[in-house]
Amino acid sequence: MEHEYAIQVHELRKNYGRVEVLKGVDLAVRRGTLLALLGPNGSGKTTVVKTLSTLTRPSRGSVVVNGHDVTRRRDGVRSSIGVVSQFVALDWLHSGRENLVLLGRLQKLSKTSAARRAAQLLERFELTEAADRPVKTYSGGMKRRLDLAASLIVIPPVLLLDEPTTGLDPRSRAVLWEAIRQLLGEGITILLTTQYLEEADRLADQIAVLDEGRIIARGTADQLKQGVGRERVAVVLSGPEDFRRAGDLLVGPGLTRDPETRTISVAIDGPSRVKQLLDLLAEHSLAIDSLSLTKPTLDDVFFALTQRASDPPDPDPMPARREPNDELGATR
């Protein structure tokens, strides 16, 4: 059953009682690519993953994974997916190896092939040394890696990763990213949710931004970041009065003000703009405590998107699209 898209979500709605968590989500993930579903806490990311992994039923709309409809062909979906949920889904009393062997046996492997597969995966995820210790003694990074290994016992055509790196230290995060890249190289289709723009940036072929149950933007990382600038400069003003006056003075794409830290952050397109900015502040005799160059964060993207959404006259560089497979780049 070859389809161009391994995941197709159309007009997905989900409500729990009277609360509507997903308000019409459209997604399409091409085979062998990675889609990052980017959004803040509570935006509905986990509900999307739960729906795709048959843990919860859609209230409305259609969800097709690897050619199987999640409501009508649950077993078909289940044999097509590997899932890493937000919370580590392992037996804490068992060792890493026992966890993998047990899950292999549940996926219809013989005892010997389950054991062989477990050993392979433990080696691949650098867990061989800890293989026979109970999982409760593992570090957060090790648990995550084992969790990912557990979803790969029978290599699934589709992998769903719900915030796989949240709460990890940078090293564990890098190990996980590398593993995800390798899997993409093996032809697996991946849907990954994240709160980190950087993560989406590094891994994703396509990014969809989810906010309050709606996709508010989609495109490549570059397309998304054009709205907030590739680089940003942040200045911390010396006093509240300077902060207020600077706030009136400065304009620019994706400008944010944080009164608490007296920080103003704005997108720039090149180093020359830093000088302009400093000159402008000096001209009005505004004193600053510090200046830093930063990469845009999800907050910046988000701010830019939501601000624009409420401001129709502004030309909209990243319109939310209804057609799931629409490529944003064409409109730019």
């Binding site: 899932v83 889904a89 009393l93």
Partner: protein
């Protein structure tokens, strides 16, 4: 592009076997998992043995002298009651086990695998019955050590084991149902408490004839009393009469209700 991924590299994929074969496989795998837990945290079983053991010693040596049970030694009257209490303890702990399993996310993983759904609850219940068997052996041993002198034949012992394990099985299903209904571990143990007390309001420690009328009516007819009386009659070589049949009927009926209810709840939990 994806053939490699879809066949699952390096792994010999399942041969064609029947659904039933795989359902049994899945059940056995998970029963194994819950039994292993027994060896991983032996303190759980230890706790489950402590209470009935303490009660046995307490009633045998402290309160027993004040309780009149007719023409047999109190310890002979007591041990069958303790056996029922120990089975109850173990079976009821299923409610917390099921509830915490649901919380921990492992079950979510099972639910995203194409496997027999029923295996999770069945695994818990069967493991509870095995724990109950271990507990029974320990209590009979302790009972004999403190003076219990059973008079039953080998067949009586087989019937005792059968009755108590049926009781364990049915009660574990009821407890599993409570574990699925509860939203927290505290809730699960709170609901379980009701079951936990059921043998205290039975003929486990005292003869119902000694109780005031209202309570006596309840105690005499509640299903735990039927189990206690059956086990006691068999072990002491007394006539069982219809009590044995009633006990079996009651607990088969409870099993017949609780098992499908728990299974349904498990299916609906995430919908």
């Amino acid at each position: 592009m994806t053939t490699q991924a879809q066949t699952g590299q390096g792994v010999d994929r399942p041969d064609i076997r029947t659904k039933l074969y795989w359902a049994i496989n899945d059940n056995l795998v998970l029963i194994g998992r819950y039994l292993q837990h027994l060896t991983r945290s032996p303190d759980q079983l230890f706790t489950a043995l402590m209470l009935p053991a303490t009660l046995l010693l307490l009633f045998r040596f402290m309160f027993g002298g004040a309780i009149d049970v007719g023409n047999t030694a109190y310890v002979n009257y007591l041990v069958p009651g303790i056996l029922v209490i120990s089975v109850t303890m173990v079976a009821v702990s299923t409610s917390v086990a099921v509830q915490s399993d649901m919380q921990e996310g492992v079950v979510d993983r099972y639910r995203t695998i194409a496997m027999a759904d029923s295996a999770v609850i069945i695994g818990h219940v069967v493991a509870a019955v095995v724990r109950a068997a271990i507990s029974l052996v320990a209590m009979v041993g302790l009972g004999i050590a403190v003076g219990f002198r059973p008079a039953g034949s080998a067949l009586d012992w087989v019937l005792v084991a059968g009755t108590l394990l049926l009781f364990a099985l049915a009660l574990a299903w009821v407890a599993a149902t409570l574990g699925l209904v509860a939203r927290s571990a505290d809730g699960a143990s709170g609901l379980g408490l009701i079951l936990m007390f059921s043998p205290y309001a039975s003929s486990a420690f005292v003869q119902p004839e000694s109780l005031p009328d209202g309570l006596r009516g309840f105690v005499e007819h509640q299903p735990v009393t039927l189990v206690v009386d059956t086990v006691r009659a068999l072990l002491l070589g007394l006539p069982v009469g219809n009590t044995g049949w009633y006990a079996v009927l009651w607990w088969v009926a409870i099993l017949g209700v609780a098992a499908p209810v728990a299974t349904r709840l498990y299916h609906r939990r995430y919908a």
